[in-house]
Symmetry: C3
Subunit: 427 residues, 3 copies
């Protein structure tokens, strides 16, 4: 039976105090926060909504001055002022930049722009933002050939992004760059393993805590015989075209090789499942990818089965897989259920998915939320959105149905936002 809204408020207050470990973001280590308003409204969540609502995307050209671009974007965004994304923008503007207005308009955007520029000059701004957001550490997503030395490891945690190596391995510049950073030219399975070993050693010694990759819908993965992987790697090395079967061998072989290294180096493998890159041809930058309804994790099973000692932190993009993911968390020992990703990050989905996860899967196998943000400022409103849903679900479902006490609910919240990330990624 429902308990009171007062409980929900008390839980939210406790939840706000938990210092979050944010296990996935795209924050650039060197420019982690916004230097200008453009850095904020240029986030694909806003440009894609404005474009979808009718804005000409030519407006977004890199050389268009703020004075031209921003008012047009802001005006188009008004059509989306009902959305949660718009709400993020207004919440961060209010909390992080003292912006006093309810809506961003062509008349008041300069006020916000000035505040953003001013705050950008504050020393330790990144820490100020994290403090205001109740975030302790933020995972980055680093290119395999990125310099990791400069990363401020007190607040940032590197992760190796595997997408480019797995899906663009036939690209000459990719292989060249891999050879350069590892000192190993890959021409067969053995040299691949040596190269990955070097790569993982470098990441590990620089504090990397995970490997991350995004996968297309219904990607078939399967164990590849060494000689078949040799053939595919050899052709790639020689610049010869690969058949469809060889490409499949190459991608699965690389994925298995990464998983094997994850095992050896004790790094969890974060997989974001189900994104169709470039599906919408006319979209803005980073606004062309879509999900696919009816996708399934089944095709990943051979990989999950092959590496029982590797922890796979899985996210899905399609809401039609939500129960499948929760069930994997329930049953499959090396699967951790992670966050609420992109098109699936709306409260309407989070609420039901979170309730179901907490009903069926061990509380130790859930990563509550990651920001997926490109600038630190977005952690605050995205996490707050999640925190509100979390407080509601814990109050009305966990405590309200008698499965746990108020104290249990706080314990669960701590695990989801901090304890599980700490234990799983050893940070």
């Amino acid at each position: 039976m429902p308990t009171s809204a007062a409980l929900e408020r008390r839980l939210l207050a406790e939840i706000m105090k938990i210092p979050v470990i944010d296990v996935h973001s795209h924050v650039p280590a060197k420019e982690p926060f916004a230097r200008s308003l453009r850095d904020l409204v240029g986030y694909h969540y806003f440009t894609s909504l404005a474009h979808s609502a009718g804005m000409d995307k030519a407006v977004l050209a890199d050389d268009a001055p703020d004075e031209e671009m921003i008012p047009v974007l802001v005006e188009a965004l008004a059509a989306a002022d009902n959305t949660v994304q718009y709400g993020w923008l207004m919440e961060l503007a209010r909390v992080l930049f003292d912006f006093p207005h309810e809506r961003l308009t062509p008349d008041n955007w300069q006020e916000l722009a000035e505040s953003v520029s001013r705050k950008a000059k504050v020393r330790g701004r990144e820490r100020e933002i994290l403090r205001a957001s109740s975030v302790e550490k933020v995972f980055l997503t680093n290119a395999f050939d990125e310099n990791l030395r400069a990363i401020d490891r007190e607040i940032f945690v590197p992760s190796l992004r595997a997408d480019t190596l797995v899906f663009s391995f036939t690209d000459k510049t990719v292989r060249k760059s891999l050879a350069k950073v590892t000192g190993v030219g890959v021409e067969d399975t053995k040299s691949l393993q040596r190269a990955l070993e070097k790569l993982f050693e470098r990441f590990k010694s620089n504090g990397a805590a995970s490997v991350a990759i995004s996968l297309p819908p219904q990607l078939k993965v399967f164990p590849v015989v060494e000689s078949d992987l040799d053939t595919a790697l050899g052709k790639a090395d020689q610049g010869k075209p690969l058949s469809a079967a060889e490409t499949a061998n190459l991608q699965s072989g690389l994925l298995f090789a990464f998983a094997q290294m994850c095992g050896r180096f004790e790094l969890p493998f974060q997989m974001m499942c189900g994104v169709i890159r470039g599906a919408y041809r006319h979209g803005v930058y980073q606004g062309r990818d879509l999900l696919q309804a009816g996708d399934t994790l089944r095709s990943l099973m051979p990989l999950l089965n092959a590496f029982p000692e590797v922890t796979f932190c899985l996210s899905v993009l399609s809401d039609s897989q939500a129960q499948e993911l929760a069930s994997y968390g329930w049953l499959v020992r090396n699967v951790v259920v992670s966050g609420h990703w992109w098109y699936d990050t709306m409260p309407a989905y989070i609420e039901r998915d979170l309730a179901a996860r907490l009903q069926c899967a061990p509380k130790t196998k859930l990563l509550g939320y990651y920001s997926d943000m490109y600038k630190l400022e977005f952690g605050l409103p995205k996490l707050n959105m999640y925190r509100r849903v979390l407080a509601r679900v814990l109050a009305w479902d966990l405590v309200g149905t008698g499965r746990g006490t108020e104290q249990d609910a706080v314990t669960v919240a701590r695990l989801l936002l901090r304890g599980n990330p700490q234990r799983i990624f050893k940070v």
Copy 2:
């Protein structure tokens, strides 16, 4: 945090005043309202439920007199008096026909039958019904060879139904009829374009505001090379059988040709996605079609990409696609998210889908609800069902979470029910 139920009631009162533009129905222009009770209970929503609950479908024979058919149907329907569909019938009986009983029974159906017959004779009955339903205009779905002259365009808006031409083009009578109404015999791509041009001209000059089609699940659509379409059209013209590949070319080619004409004539293309016609062989008339779980819009992407200037108003039949559709509305500029169709029109689905749409997509890209009705009387209960859910979602989600004020909520409701249809279809 939740606000009060009082807000929900105030919003509903405001929503009831908005004159709706109903963008999709099957109302026959010449017989738009019920002449007899049979016209109402003969709606497939009721015959299929009664049959599913055990009624012999022979009862529905055209020559069975009302006195035989209706009591049997009414008795069988009692097994479904828990349903929303049954609720529609009772609500319209009460409001439009002053029927005083809570249930329709073999003992009281004649009372309703008399009221229906009596009201049918009232002059201007169609306007009376629309007034009671708070509906201003109703879109029709017109066969390509239908006479459009007689349509009362003050209240009705013609739409060209494309199903027959796209999916039954090899049917000789279809091609003959097309030749007759356009004066063009289609034998290749060029003559197809001329015929469609004539067809669209006629519809446009008669006030048509859209083209509408229903599509089977996972229909693959793709751009067809002109010579391949020539071959398929030629074979169809000569009455020769088409291979599976040629049939696919024909259907995709026709679909692309329709979309092209939509672009030239500035007509939105309404697509109802995912119906398997005739799936249940033993069903009653119009009660044989089903949805398919796990269907996806992905296969439509080539069409949506090919005509960025055409507005596609998409509905889906499978609940497992709800988030996919909402995400298309969010990202894809030429996609409008439309209504809650057929098996997906239950409040349990509408509530969550509507909340999600309002959370993620621009408010200008949502068509709230269309009736899909066969007689005008059904607009009232179906729309009222939607209006109640809309009031609830706006109160508890939009206003309750602080994303908008009460006035914003009314603005959103106006857009969904009236403003967006007006702007998108230019009516």
Copy 3:
């Protein structure tokens, strides 16, 4: 508009009084209740959660003594004390075994173990449990070669499990056992029919009320020509390997043959759709099966169409099919919507699915809940979970929206828990 929580409480009180007919379980007729605590915590719902949360599965070895196994299992289970499954265990411990603690721990498990052993010796314990659970009759799932004589038919109802015959027919021991119990060696379609006839006669004369089978996702079923089935059965009989096409013919042919016998013997066919057996290789016993998101009932349609006189009671394992299943119940006369199965039996799913079913399908075509239990004790907490959701949905949706009165709600509850099972299975 919402009515009061008081209504929900009153409905729950009424619902608790309804003597349930539980139409699907795996209770062994000879050992229907727990002899020891191990019989309870050894249920796959707990061993799989404990293993998933990190427990070494070697602990579960048959020869590991309780003193070693149980504390380790109990300790691992603490990580899942947030779950509904854990809640089942604590509820049955409290109600059926007077266990006074909120959690099961390595320190208090022996207290519960003693209580279980003590209660096991009470004469008529199975009836005591059923009384406490408000359950009148429980369906069993019997192997085709099981002895049915010993079954206590006052409380148990046999059902013929078809899985082994349909999916392991090429297994020599299976065919031998079939020959032994029927006196018919199957070598072609005709002898298959004779054997099934004997089998069904035996089950029918022993009070069997249904046939039950679980099916893998997207199983293609189709009518098989007799000569093709002859070929497949002949090869199986001769121990020759079957091609993929022949295997498909064999399985579809067997499924159709079972359905045909269901028609002749007037037995409903219970189908649990969508389980991938052995998907997770490293799972514990009975903890290796998974669902598949995006599965569909469409491929079953040929079977449903071919036997309009056979009642198919369908359950699905994937939440993405929930609306599809409800729609089949709405439209397809010989389909009954049954229960909430396994990964789909969490309240988060049940609540929405139940609301939707009650909104769209005749109340006479819904089987509310079956326990799927392995020991009688689990009926109590699983059914109570369902009853609470049922009371809530009836209160807030059926009564709250005005589709029915409080008395109607009780009537619906009676149908779902008792009246429909009685009528559909003639028990």
